[in-house]
């Protein structure tokens, strides 16, 4: 009996919570919560500052991916129409989001900052094909909000800053396809 009286303390707590503000966030079609900068969900391939497809087909992301969901078909070296300089190209790029574990390693190793993750809350699909990202879908995702992380930024965060070389990742980019081709 005494126990049932002591239970009133618990009743008081639950009554107090009746007047606390809601902690749940609204349903996606009624509004979104604020997503932090580093939020990461789906993927996008981006164009570089000249308007070329940034991916150089170096297959780094394919090699690092722990769940082996990325397939890159390199397209060989050719001159860029925009800049006129030779660089590597990517012929096909697929990413199977069904098995993705969102570890961000592919972003980190990308020497050309070509692949980024999205800062979008929901990326569901109605079938497995919807979550199989082809190259077109990945480039279409470029319009969505990108996450903060890119290869250069992640590497820059992890390594002590080297003041004289702020443009280091871009400078390294042309070298990468050669490495990819030899390995």
């Amino acid at each position: 009996m005494m126990g049932l009286l002591a239970a009133f303390a618990a009743l008081w707590v639950s009554a107090k919570n009746l007047f606390r503000p809601m902690t749940t966030t609204p349903l996606p079609w009624k509004g979104r919560r604020d997503l932090p900068e580093r939020y990461r969900t789906s993927f996008a391939l981006v164009h570089d500052e000249h308007g070329d497809e940034a991916c150089i087909g170096c297959k780094m992301c394919e090699k690092i991916c722990p769940s082996q969901i990325i397939t890159v078909v390199p397209g060989g070296r050719a001159n860029s129409e925009k800049t006129g300089k030779p660089r590597g190209w990517c012929k096909d790029f697929t990413l199977d989001l069904n098995a993705c574990i969102h570890c961000e390693l592919c972003i980190q190793v990308c020497p050309a900052d070509a692949i980024v993750m999205l800062r979008e809350q929901d990326t569901p699909g109605f079938s497995r094909e919807d979550l199989f990202l082809s190259m077109e879908k990945l480039y279409a995702n470029e319009k969505k909000a990108p996450s903060w992380g890119t290869g250069a930024r992640l590497i820059g965060m992890q390594e002590p800053p080297k003041p004289p070389k702020p443009e280091a990742p871009q400078a390294e980019a042309p070298k990468a396809p050669a490495e990819g081709a030899t390995s």
Binding site: M1, A7, A10, L11, V13, L18, T23, T24
Partner: protein, 324 residues
């Protein structure tokens, strides 16, 4: 006049009462979900209708569409019979409940006994369901339910005897009449009445399998107790029986201890319903706050605390009646 005919009167009032109970059940589920949601800092149902008010209808439609599964090896007849019997019994128990002067489907001389005995028959469909399901969890749940019903009948009836002794009648109308002038049995005589009210309330919680006494259902131990194998509307009927049982218990507590339809301004069914719904909401509050007792602790509570206390209360009430 045609309403003077007891059959017609009973039919009309019964129709109204049954509909009242069903509608209250449906929207009490909505209320409970909203209430629990607020208690847990979340909005509860919001999508179906304004404030999710049409949620009960959506739930009903969903339940009606569900596949009706009878498990292999189940006793088909008993399995299918159990949910409607439960619903019928619990709705029948409301027949003797008056909502106002004359507003009763069947004004029985032994109304209290009728309502209590019909609600205690609820163990039969529960046991039927548990046995017929061919499921060990359901069987364990049914065994617990039977043990619980058998032991909690005693303090329930003993505490219900207190207003009967004080009013000197088994008729609910007489009991309510005896409380007129705000001499509610929960307040007057001081002591036995209040204790009997608390006991009646607790044991009704146990009878209706509500937390902290919901050990027959005990979803963390017995998956869903007797309703483990039920799907669709059959499950819905069990659900209905459970909620209406709680509601009937609140109504009974109102007429027995809280003066029935008596209240400020105008006496009438609205006071009866308001008091009952207040108790009902309190049950939700308790349900969403407390944890569950273990079966044996709960039996110990019943036989070692509740039964002696209710006996003592009954004796005290009888003495009071005898002396005054």
């Amino acid at each position: 006049m045609i309403l003077g005919n007891p059959w017609v009167h009973g039919g009309v009032v019964g129709f109204v009462v049954v509909n009242f109970l069903m509608v209250t059940f449906a929207w009490s589920v909505w209320f409970e979900r909203k209430f629990a949601g607020r208690m847990q800092n979340r909005p509860g149902p919001t999508e179906v209708g304004p404030f999710g008010l049409l949620q009960p209808i959506a739930d009903l439609l969903k339940l009606l569409q569900k596949q009706d599964i009878v498990p292999d090896g189940a006793d088909r007849a008993l399995f299918n019979l159990a949910p409607p019997i439960g619903a019928i019994l619990i709705l029948a128990s409301a027949a003797a409940l008056p909502f106002g002067p004359g507003l009763v489907a069947a004004d029985l001389d032994v109304g209290v006994l009728f309502a209590l005995s019909i609600t205690s028959l609820m163990v039969i469909p529960v046991w039927m369901a548990g046995w017929a399901s061919n499921n060990k969890y359901a069987l364990l749940g049914a065994m617990r339910a039977a043990a619980q019903a058998v032991s909690f009948e005693v303090p329930l009836l003993l505490s219900a005897m207190v207003p009967i002794v004080l009013a000197g009648s088994f008729s609910i109308a007489d009991i309510v009449a005896a409380q007129s002038g705000y001499a509610w049995f929960a307040l007057w005589p001081p002591g036995p009445g209040l204790v009997a009210f608390v006991l009646f309330f607790l044991t009704s919680l146990a009878e209706a399998n509500r937390i902290p006494f919901d050990i027959p259902e005990a979803e963390s131990e017995l998956v869903a107790g007797v309703t483990t194998e039920y799907t669709g509307m059959k499950f819905g009927l069990f659900y209905l029986a459970e909620y209406v049982h709680t509601l009937v218990a609140s109504l009974l507590a109102t007429v027995l201890f809280l003066g029935g339809w008596e209240g400020p301004f105008v006496d009438g069914p609205h006071w009866m319903i308001a008091k009952a719904l207040g108790l009902y909401a309190f049950i939700f509050w308790v349900r969403w706050t407390l944890l569950r007792y273990r079966a044996d602790q709960f039996m110990a509570l019943c036989w070692k605390v509740l039964v002696p206390t209710s006996l003592a209360t009954l004796v005290a009430a009888a003495l009071w009646k005898h002396l005054s």
